[in-house]
C-alpha cells in the first residue's frame, strides 16, 4: 500500500503527545511519531494508538527511530520494523536500520537521516544508490547546495523546514551528572543552556538516550520550499513550541501549500506569531578552515 500519492511536498509534523496529534491531525500529511521505545526525544505517546489514529485520518505515520544504536537496541528495533512495516515509514539515523530493512525487504520504508553526514551531491547520490525511500541532507548547508545536490539525485528528499534544529547529541546524561556533582535537583522542564558570554538560549533535553541541545532560534523555509521546490517531505519540528502556536504554523504551511494564501501572506502571519526565526545556513555557508592547497 502506497501512502504517497501527492506530488507536492508533504507536510510532516513531529508529535510527542496524544493531544498534539489530536489537535494537529487535520493540518499534516505525515506524522513523525516519537515514542519512548525507539525515538531520540519522547514524551508519553502511545504508538499503537497513534498509528491507528493517523491511519483513520489518512495521515502517514512515520515512526522516529532516530538514535545511534547500541548492540542492545538492535533486536528491539528489528521487531518494531517487522511489526509496523506494512503501515508506517521509519525515520532512522543509524546505518544498522538500513541493514535490518534490507533483511526485512523494506528499504522502501526507510527515511534515512544521518543528520550531518550527507552534505554534498556526491554523498547524496551514493547514499541514494542504497535504495531507501527518502534521504535527508545536512541542515548545515545552504539551500542552494540542497537544490544543486537534488539535480543529480532523483529520489525523495526529507528535510526540516521549520522549528528548532538539533545541534548536539551526546550519549552522556550531562544534566544528571551535573546534578550529582553539585548535589542539586534540576527539574527537566523547559530547560535552556546559555553560554556565559552570549545571550542566546539553547533548548536542552535529557532523557535515557543522553543529552540533546538545539539551536537558539527557529528556522522557517516557507519561501524557499515553495519558490524552489525540491523537498518531498517538509518536516516541521514542534519541540519547545506551545501546541497552539505550532498548530498555527502548521496551518499556514498547509494553506500556503494548497495555494489558499500566498507565501508572502503566510510568512507575514508567521512573523506575527512573534517567534525567533533566523536563516541559519540557508544563505550562508559555514567556514571551512581551508588549507593552502
Amino acid at each position: 500500500m502506497d501512502f504517497f500519492i501527492e506530488v507536492d511536498m508533504k507536510i510532516v509534523a513531529s508529535v510527542y503527545k496524544w493531544e498534539q496529534l489530536n489537535q494537529w491531525i487535520d493540518a499534516m500529511d505525515c506524522a513523525i511519531l516519537n515514542v519512548k521505545e525507539c525515538s531520540l526525544i519522547y514524551e508519553d505517546l502511545d504508538l499503537d494508538q497513534a498509528i491507528s489514529f493517523c491511519l483513520e485520518h489518512k495521515v502517514v505515520p512515520i515512526l522516529a527511530m532516530n538514535r545511534i544504536l547500541h548492540p542492545r537496541d538492535i533486536s528491539f528495533m528489528s521487531q518494531y520494523i517487522m511489526k509496523y512495516k506494512a503501515v508506517a515509514y521509519f525515520l532512522t539515523t543509524d546505518l544498522a536500520m538500513i541493514q535490518i530493512a534490507k533483511k526485512e525487504a523494506c528499504l522502501d520504508r526507510i527515511i534515512y537521516d544521518p543528520q550531518t553526514m550527507i552534505a554534498n551531491k556526491l554523498d547524496l547520490k551514493t547514499y541514494g544508490e542504497i535504495g531507501c525511500h527518502a534521504l535527508s541532507m545536512s541542515l548545515e548547508i545552504p539551500y542552494h547546495d540542497v537544490l544543486e545536490s537534488m539535480r543529480e539525485y532523483k529520489g525523495n528528499l526529507f528535510y526540516q523546514v521549520f522549528g528548532y534544529r538539533l545541534m548536539f547529541y551526546s550519549k552522556r546524561k550531562l544534566i544528571k551528572l551535573y546534578e550529582e556533582k553539585q548535589n542539586i535537583i534540576i527539574h527537566r522542564n523547559h530547560l535552556f543552556l546559555k553560554e556565559q558570554t552570549r545571550d542566546a538560549l539553547y533548548p536542552i533535553i535529557e532523557n535515557e538516550n543522553g543529552t540533546m541541545i538545539y539551536r537558539s532560534y527557529l528556522i522557517s523555509l516557507l519561501k524557499e520550499i515553495y519558490t524552489n521546490p525540491c523537498i518531498e517531505y517538509g518536516y516541521l519540528e514542534s519541540l519547545y513550541l506551545p501546541n497552539d502556536i505550532f498548530y498555527a504554523v502548521l496551518k499556514l504551511y498547509q494553506l500556503s501549500k494548497n495555494k489558499e494564501i500566498s507565501i508572502e501572506e503566510a510568512i507575514q502571519n508567521i512573523k506575527e506569531l512573534d517567534l525567533h526565526i533566523e536563516d541559519g545556513w540557508t544563505y550562508q555557508d559555514s567556514i571551512y578552515q581551508k588549507e593552502l592547497f
Binding site: 545511534i68 544504536l69 547500541h70 538492535i74 543509524d94 546505518l95 544498522a96 536500520m97 538500513i98 541493514q99 543528520q115 550531518t116 553526514m117 552534505a119 554534498n120 551531491k121 556526491l122 554523498d123 547520490k125 547514499y127 548545515e140 548547508i141 534544529r165 538539533l166 545541534m167 548536539f168 547529541y169 551526546s170 550519549k171 552522556r172 546524561k173 550531562l174 551528572l177 551535573y178 550529582e180 556533582k181 542539586i184 534540576i186 522542564n189 523547559h190 530547560l191 535552556f192 543552556l193 546559555k194 553560554e195 556565559q196 542566546a200 538560549l201 543529552t211 539551536r215 537558539s216 550562508q284 555557508d285 559555514s286 567556514i287 571551512y288 578552515q289 588549507e291 593552502l292 592547497f293
Partner: protein, 394 residues
C-alpha cells in the same frame, strides 16, 4: 593470532618519525585537502611521499585522513587527490564520506577505513560497511568493552578503537555546537571546542546552576591503559591514539608507553598499570578517564574545571646529533634547564639517567642556563645519545 597495530597521530614529518621510532606500527596524518584538524600542521604531497618512504623503511604504514564532511564546494578533485596519495605510497584512507570510501575501493589499491565520524556502534552498522568491501571500521567512542567484544565476535572487518586522547562529548560527527555558535564547522576542520566553554543552565528564565559555578559539558581525555589486555583478548586490530595537534614529547611518551604495554601483554608479563599511567603522566596535560569502556560515564569522567589541566614541562630538549669522537650531544632546547643537572634520557632504546656538566651554545660559549626555546645547545655525555632521544628533567 591477531596482529595488533599501534596507530599514532602526527601533525608533521618530525612527529611522524618520532612516532615510528618510539614504536608505532602505523601513523595517521592529514593532507592539505579533505582533512579535519585544520590547525594541525598538515602534510603536503611531498611530505606525504617522504612520510611513506620513512614509514615503509621501518615497516610501518601511513593512513591519511580524508574525513571532512564535504559541502558541494569541497568535492572537486577528490578522486585525483586519492590517486595522488596512492602514488605517494599511502596505505590507507580514513573517511566518513560514503562517496570517498567508495572511490578508494573502486579506483585505488589503498585500504578504506571508516572514520569514527560515522559513529559506528553496532554489528549491523559494521556489516553495512563490510558489504561495501570496507577494510576497517573505527568504532564509536561511546562503546563499552563488552559491546566491542560482541561486535568483534560477529564481524569479519578489521576493527579499530581509540585508546588515548581527546574525547568529543558529543557523538562524533553529529556535533554542530561550534558551527551554530561561531560559524566554524567542526565537520570541516574548524571546531572551536564550544563544548569546553562555560554555560549557565536555565529553567525558563531562571538560572539553576550556582552563580559562582558554570554548567560544564566537557569530557576528560581517554586513557585506556587498563583496558588494553581486554581489547587484545577481544582481538581488536588497531589501537588508535588521538592527537595530531599534540607535541612531539606527548607523541613519543604515549606511543612508547602503549608499545611497551602491548608487548608486555603479548609476552605474558605481569602488568603494573600504575607504572604505565605514571609514565603517560609525564607528557599528558589534560585529565584522563576510561570514557565508556568500563561503565557509563560518571562525574569522574567529566571535566568540570578546565583549569585542572596540568601543564607538562618536564620535557627539556630533543637530541639532534651526537659526536662520538668529542662525546658532545647537540640538543634543541624545549624547556628551561641548568648545567650540572641529572636528566632522564627517554629513547626508543630505553630510559636512563645522565649527569650533564657545562652547557654551551653553538659558538662554544658556556651558558648559565638553557633558557631559549628551540635554541641549539651542547653538552658532554659519555653515554652515546642518538637523534630523536628526548631529554626530561628527573
Amino acid at each position: 593470532m591477531t596482529k595488533f597495530e599501534l596507530l599514532a597521530p602526527a601533525g608533521d614529518l618530525e612527529k611522524l618519525k618520532v612516532a615510528i621510532l618510539y614504536g608505532a606500527d602505523a601513523v595517521f596524518i592529514g593532507g592539505l585537502q579533505f582533512s579535519l584538524r585544520s590547525r594541525a600542521s598538515n602534510f603536503t604531497l611531498e611530505d606525504i611521499r617522504k612520510a611513506c618512504s620513512f614509514a615503509h623503511q621501518h615497516h610501518a604504514k601511513i593512513h591519511v585522513t580524508c574525513n571532512i564532511i564535504m559541502h558541494n564546494i569541497d568535492t572537486e578533485g577528490i578522486l585525483e587527490y586519492l590517486k595522488a596519495l596512492e602514488a605517494c605510497g599511502v596505505d590507507c584512507i580514513i573517511a566518513s564520506s560514503l562517496y570517498i570510501l567508495k572511490m578508494v575501493k573502486e579506483h585505488t589499491k589503498m585500504e578504506a577505513h571508516v572514520s569514527t565520524q560515522q559513529s559506528t556502534s553496532n554489528i549491523e552498522a559494521v556489516q553495512f560497511f563490510e558489504d561495501m568491501g570496507i577494510d576497517r571500521v573505527v568504532l564509536a567512542r561511546e562503546l563499552s568493552l563488552d559491546e566491542i567484544d560482541g561486535i568483534k565476535k560477529s564481524v569479519n572487518t578489521d576493527l579499530e578503537v581509540f585508546i588515548h586522547g581527546g574525547m568529543c562529548v558529543s557523538i562524533s560527527g553529529r556535533c554542530m555546537l561550534s558551527n551554530s555558535m561561531t560559524n566554524r564547522d567542526a565537520n570541516r576542520g574548524g571546531c572551536a571546542h564550544s563544548c569546553r566553554w562555560a554555560y549557565d543552565i536555565l529553567e525558563s528564565e531562571n538560572q539553576i546552576n550556582p552563580k559562582e559555578e558554570c554548567f560544564a559539558m566537557s569530557s576528560k581525555d581517554l586513557c585506556a591503559i587498563r583496558a588494553i589486555p581486554k581489547l587484545m583478548e577481544i582481538g581488536i586490530n588497531s589501537f588508535k591514539i588521538e592527537g595530531r595537534m599534540k607535541s612531539l614529547h606527548y607523541i613519543a611518551t604515549v606511543v612508547h608507553t602503549y608499545r611497551k604495554l602491548i608487548d608486555a601483554v603479548l609476552n605474558q608479563e605481569k602488568i603494573d598499570f600504575d607504572q604505565y599511567e605514571k609514565e603517560i603522566w609525564k607528557a599528558e596535560n589534560r585529565l584522563t578517564s576510561t570514557g565508556f569502556l568500563f561503565h557509563e560515564p560518571t562525574i569522574r569522567e567529566q571535566l568540570y574545571d578546565i583549569n585542572l589541566a596540568v601543564p607538562a614541562n618536564d620535557f627539556i630538549g630533543i637530541v639532534r646529533s651526537y659526536d662520538s669522537k668529542t662525546q658532545m650531544a647537540y640538543v634543541e632546547q624545549r624547556n628551561h634547564f641548568l648545567p650540572y643537572t641529572t636528566i632522564e634520557v627517554y629513547s626508543p632504546r630505553g630510559t636512563y639517567f645522565i649527569s650533564i656538566q657545562e652547557i654551551y651554545d653553538l659558538d662554544g660559549n658556556s651558558l648559565d642556563a638553557a633558557r631559549h626555546p628551540q635554541q641549539m645547545v651542547s653538552f658532554k655525555s659519555e653515554i652515546p645519545l642518538e637523534p630523536y632521544d628526548l631529554l626530561r628533567l628527573n
